[in-house]
Symmetry: C2
Subunit: 246 residues, 2 copies
């Protein structure tokens, strides 16, 4: 194959990983987006997904800490700003806490990360460490689940607005903003991976990293489903319905 | 309280964590020990629990790598030998692979750790990193789940022998040996923690470490239950019944 064909085939390989393993295929999301969750299942999702959100800027800082090239650092830094905010712009974490308020949770409780499922912590912490410790190519490639995010965010916005009383435009502003932010990030990340994954071994490593990341996302939903949907066994110490209400 | 009372109360606090959160209380173990598992559920447990076993000597090596005192290193080193074996003595990992053969799995497949649930990896890897990165007191305290292990091993030996055709004395020799090995380890570890957890903050840290470890064990069984019992949804890429057979 010539160089362009290889690049196209490699991108197709990455996209296939999303088709097969991205967490839009998980039944918890079907339940959530179709209005099948009760309020406590929505709250459990908000409590646990907060932990993931809260670790994303730490993950991106771990990445920045390894980058020698100021241009790459500058491009990547906007991800931290998108989540943490700036003096003039609210960030994604603050928006997530608005969602927490909208579903009746005390945002301070959610921000404390008490009650987060241990399995959520283990999965998310594994992701932060992966980006800190693995080769740069794998660190960048692990972010490419954002390739598959726009559809799930669009489905979520529509599903939440249609099915749940709490879902005002303010409550779900996190997702609307991600629809604007994610495309620039993923365009940059995908271009970087396609440019740097030159050998077959590089491409295998990038595919492995993206697969790892789909596991991180899937494991969070499995844990949520197990604890709060079926069999509905909440592990010792994790959030119980009724806790952390505003 | 005088010093002895404090020590006794602290030990009672640690034991209470086991009473409330140790994984002998998890329904997967009830199922396993009562003969309620089908052969594929037993195999899934063998595949996944192998990953935990395989990381224990790595965890203990991470601990050794931090210890300055040769006497403490010498005491702790037997844990690695117990799992990895010596020139004249079989280790726990080899015994676990005998269990794998007994349940019809290819021991090379099990040893490859392919098919291990991502949630198992995340939990176990979190434990290895905890022992590598956290203060020494917490690293030692996290091993104290062994306080609660003899009962679960005795129940397991009796339950497996009574209910499953594969359960020969050879097949379950791992557990018999743990009954001999664990008491010396835990006597040493408990004594060390009681000696070194002097302040209230120390005791809180040790209790937190033991709680963390109970989460590591519980999360593994939750993931196993979710994938292979109920709802029985196997995550992408994880072991499927029929795979890895001898």
């Amino acid at each position: 194959m010539n160089e362009m064909t290889t690049r196209t085939a490699f991108e197709a390989r990455l996209r296939r990983i999303g088709d097969e393993r991205y967490h839009d295929r998980h039944p918890f999301h079907t339940l959530l987006h179709s209005g099948g969750c009760n309020i406590n299942q929505v709250r459990a999702w908000v409590v646990n997904r907060y932990y993931y959100q809260s670790r994303i800027p730490m993950k991106d800082a771990a990445f920045l800490s390894r980058v020698e090239d100021p241009t790459l650092r500058r491009s990547w830094r906007s991800r931290i700003e998108d989540h943490d905010g700036t003096d003039t712009r609210e960030g994604g974490i603050a928006r997530w806490l608005k969602l927490a308020s909208a579903v009746g949770l005390d945002p301070d409780y959610v921000a404390s990360a008490r009650g987060v499922l241990p399995a959520t912590r283990f999965a998310v912490d594994a992701y932060v460490r992966y980006v800190r410790d693995e080769p740069m190519l794998k660190a960048v490639a692990s972010s490419l689940t954002e390739l598959f995010a726009p559809k799930i965010h669009a489905d979520r916005i529509a599903g939440l607005l249609e099915h749940y009383d709490f879902a005002s435009p303010e409550a779900i502003s996190y997702f609307r903003h991600r629809l604007d932010e994610a495309p620039k990030d993923v365009k940059f990340g995908l271009g970087w991976v396609l440019d740097h994954a030159v050998t077959q071994a590089d491409q295998d490593a990038a595919a492995e990293a993206l697969t790892f990341k789909t596991d991180v996302l899937w494991a969070q939903l499995d844990a949520l489903y197990s604890a709060y949907v079926a069999p509905g066994r909440i592990p010792p110490g994790a959030w119980q319905p009724g806790e952390g209400l505003a």
